[in-house]
């Protein structure tokens, strides 16, 4: 059998050991929890969508009982993106309305959430929009 020319067996063993050490270190290296880019994208999308619903008056309509504009806006979001809109009476903590995007069953444990508030007809309402990628 010819002797090693570039990589000898001990070199390969050394390389393998180094990679094993590397593999052991990396999982323990990053202990901080930062959202990944997809989570950040969903966070921004969710916050922007809630702002659009408020600025266009759709959220007020939903509080008043007409959720058609919110339903239409949620339907216009891309495939795979899921949202649930809620309006909560701030004084009583009662959920006034909940609108879910169709086809988005099974809300995951971790979702992006945006919250805001709306003054309507003498009362304050907390608006919540949860978003996730299916």
């Amino acid at each position: 059998m010819r002797r090693g020319f570039i990589f000898t067996v001990d070199a390969l063993i050394a390389f393998g050991l180094a990679m094993a050490v590397l593999g052991l270190i990396i999982p323990f290296y990053d202990t901080t929890s930062l959202p990944n880019h997809e989570e950040l994208h969903v966070q921004r999308y969710t916050a922007d969508l809630l702002a659009v619903m408020q600025k266009s008056g759709q959220a007020r309509l939903a509080i008043a009982g007409d959720d058609s504009a919110v339903v239409a806006t949620l339907a216009m979001t891309g495939t795979g993106k899921c949202f649930v809109f809620k309006a909560v009476n701030a004084a009583t903590s009662t959920i006034i309305i909940t609108v879910s995007k169709p086809g988005c069953a099974g809300k995951p444990v971790t979702v992006s959430a945006a919250s805001s508030n709306e003054y309507y007809n003498g009362g304050f309402y907390r608006l919540e929009l949860s978003g996730w990628v299916q």
């Binding site: 002797r3 090693g4 020319f5 570039i6 990589f7 000898t8 001990d10 070199a11 390969l12 050394a14 390389f15 180094a18 990679m19 050490v21 590397l22 270190i25 990396i26 290296y29 990053d30 901080t32 930062l34 959202p35 990944n36 880019h37 950040l40 966070q43 921004r44 916050a47 702002a51 408020q54 600025k55 701030a90 945006a114 919250s115 805001s116 508030n117 709306e118 003054y119 309507y120 003498g122 304050f124 907390r126 919540e128």
Partner: protein, 293 residues
């Protein structure tokens, strides 16, 4: 033969050394690349949180406008001016209790919901007067005096309007009125649209912002019967360009479009502020309604 083995062992040593060095180098590069990746992610996360706080400020200003009943829009013109539009009821209801309730809600329940520390300072607008200010001019609603209009900011000598368009709507009929007189020349082009149960009349002319002009309207029947509406444009002491409408009890609406230089009206804000801290981001500023680009 012995020399050959020795040579082969030396080559193995070099190859092993190079391989280990390469592996170490890869390890070092990966290790040092992690902080920069984390910095980038941290920047993106902070940017996202910062944008969320900006939206919170924007929305708070919108909600305050809804509570106090002031509608305002701002439109920059190609000629370097800004046209600002304001509309309020001429007998505005004092919603200072709602303003105080909103402040308490933001500070309490909503702070918890938004995972933030929110400290509103709404004192200046939770009394008898609400002001929407630029660096030279204030739009005010004074509930105690049942009036609304414009006046120069404390540090300004005049409002500097070039165009002033007023739309006053009163649902009752006027039994008597004393119209104001246009000057023929003057520094402000004024248009007044007056709508009552008698119909709509529109007048236009130039007025000096430093001399007084009064328009008095009396109502004898219906809502506000026996009461009057007064409209004033001109000076107030040494300050020019003051405009107000005052109703002694006649309901209606007052809308005004004013055109003024962009440099004097590039930002409009409520005389109230908000302090928000969320995670590593903190912001404390006036409630900005509009800021030109």
């Amino acid at each position: 033969m012995r020399y050959g083995r020795k040579f082969a062992g030396g080559r193995g040593f070099v190859a092993t050394f190079v391989t280990c060095a390469l592996a170490t180098l890869i390890l070092i590069l990966i290790t040092f690349s992690q902080p920069s990746l984390k910095l980038r992610d941290r920047y993106l996360a902070d940017y996202s949180a910062s944008a969320g706080i900006r939206q919170m400020f924007d929305n708070t200003a919108v909600q305050v406008g809804a509570i106090v009943g002031v509608n305002s829009t701002f439109l920059p013109q190609a000629d370097g001016n800004v046209t600002a539009s304001f509309a309020v009821p001429i007998l505005s209801q004092n919603n200072s209790v709602e303003v105080a309730n909103y402040s308490a809600y933001l500070q309490g329940a909503f702070s918890q919901a938004a995972s933030a520390v929110i400290s509103p300072s709404f004192g200046p607008i939770a009394g008898d007067r609400v002001e929407l200010m630029s660096n030279t001019t204030s739009f005010f609603v004074d509930y105690a005096w049942r009036s609304a209009g414009f006046e120069p900011s404390p540090e300004s000598s005049g409002t500097r309007f070039s165009n002033l368009s007023i739309a006053l709507v009163i649902s009752e009929a006027l039994n008597a009125s004393t119209p104001w007189v246009y000057d023929g020349s003057g520094d402000v082009n004024v248009t007044l649209s007056l709508t009552t149960a008698n119909g709509t009349t529109v007048t236009n002319g130039r007025m000096s912002s430093s001399t007084p002009h009064f328009y008095l309207m009396n109502v004898t029947t219906g809502a506000g019967g026996g009461e009057s509406v007064a409209l004033y444009f001109g000076n107030s002491g040494a300050k020019s360009g003051v405009l107000w409408v005052n109703s002694t009890g006649v309901p209606g609406t007052f809308a005004a479009n004013v055109t003024m230089p962009y440099a004097l009206a590039s930002a409009w804000y409520y005389n109230a502020s908000l302090n928000v801290t969320k995670a590593a981001i903190a912001r404390n500023s006036k409630l900005l309604v509009w800021e030109g680009g």
